[in-house]
Amino acid sequence: MRKGFLGLALVLVALLPGGVAGAEELVRVAAAADLRPVLPALEAEFAKVRPGTRVEVILGSSGKLATQIENGAPFDVFFSADRALPARLAGKGLCDGPVQLYARGRLALWNGREDVSRLTLADLKEKRFRRIAIANPEHAPYGQRAREALQRAGVWSVVQDRIVLGENVSQTAELVESGAADVGILALSLALTPELARKGAHATIPENLHQPLEQGYCVLKGPGGRGAARAFVHFVGEPAARAILRRHGFAQPGEGSP
């Protein structure tokens, strides 16, 4: 009796409907982790422009997302934290249209315990920074640039042994916020979020210390309607979206730093 009930419950749960199916159009956006703070605002704005199109966001390090796309992940648009990865996808014929730049990211030093706005990368040599978090340079563009900046600032050889790696730049922020790392090099967009800014001021890292963090997107030959995807990327190029990006710490292509 009880066993029958258990089996029935299992079958019923197995028959649960999948996702929230709706008549609305759907665009699946694979986005680099540095875009996390800005996406809710972009989604809200896009909903005003094109109501009835739902945006679903999957966040991760750009490198991981690109690998997933190469392996058939059903995404419609890919917003990378660099331009090389979307270019790689385009080279493999996975994109529908050319790679477009949409923003230039900035690096920021932050630790959430003190005002670090006067600190420079050279100060990281101090012994009190026992753990320095950056994103994994293997597949996260912010990690590559952070390493470059540390090298250019001449401190890499000293701090190399104290580096801890986040899976992506968002997880790097988590490492610092939790206190596991004493300081971290994050995306400016993350340091500007209320959650982080509340805990301590950041220092923006001079752009001349690293290659520009030019970020590009591409429309993918994904499963969804290409129309919705096009509408979304078009929207990102509009003044309203550009303003939102700027407000969240992303310079716009051809413009100076925010």
Binding site: L10, V13, A14, G18, V20, E56, I58, G60, Q68, P74
Partner: protein
């Protein structure tokens, strides 16, 4: 505290766990029965393969699944060639991954339960007119019910808790492959401690409750069967 998309995630997780449990119940029971009864020498090899997910990092399993199920993989490419769709980053792909990942949790308790039934009992059943399949249904299954229940609960709970395989082949797509463990990871990464704590706490209580039920039921069986 929970938003609509959290409910969707919980739904996907429960569905994945339930489908995985049903599939493994259907496929694992005969396998466990065979392993418990066969004297074939190659049996150790099969047992080792079944136990592999216990020691293998889930990411390794996930990696091979990705390679196999994706559009360039052996299985994925075959499906595509016949007009289907490859299985990476899909619910079906997750079910395959979860079934492999939870295989030992389903097979081992059942195998142990079948093996614990004395050979005499089956011989006796044969001499009172029960054929092999009859014996399986009317003797093996009822006598192994504790092991079967344990297998179900462990499989369900283990699937709810899986992370590495999902990370590799899931794609974290809401409503399809975003499961609780991924959502918690995401919330923690987004520093959304409120929702990470809510989901983690819920999962903790759920797992604890499930295990208490298993132990309580096992105790009751013990009292009945002594």
């Amino acid at each position: 505290m929970l938003r609509a998309d959290d409910l969707v995630t919980i739904g996907v997780t429960a569905r994945l766990a339930a489908v995985t449990t049903l599939v493994l119940l259907a496929a694992g029971t005969p396998l466990a029965w065979w392993l418990a009864r066969t004297h074939w020498r190659g049996k150790v090899l099969v047992e080792a393969v079944v136990a592999l997910p216990l020691v293998l990092p889930p990411t390794v399993l996930g990696y091979y699944l990705l390679v196999c199920l994706g559009p360039h993989g052996a299985l994925g490419a075959t499906l595509e060639r016949f007009g289907g769709h490859h299985l990476a980053f899909s619910f079906a792909g997750l079910v395959i991954g979860s079934c492999l990942y939870s295989l030992p949790f389903a097979v081992q308790p059942m195998q142990a339960a079948f093996a614990a039934i004395g050979e005499r009992t089956f011989e006796m059943a044969a001499t009172v007119g029960a054929g092999p399949f009859d014996r399986f249904l009317t003797v093996a299954l009822p006598l192994a019910r504790r092991g079967i229940l344990t297998a179900c609960v462990l499989t369900f709970a283990h699937t709810v808790g899986e992370f590495g395989v999902v990370l590799m082949v899931g794609g974290n797509i809401p409503g399809s492959t975003r499961v609780l463990s991924m959502a918690i990871y995401d919330y923690a990464e987004a520093l959304d401690h409120g929702r990470a704590a809510a989901l983690s706490g819920g999962l903790l209580i759920f797992s604890m409750a499930l295990l208490i039920v298993v132990y309580a039921v096992n105790r009751r069986f013990e009292r009945i069967q002594v």
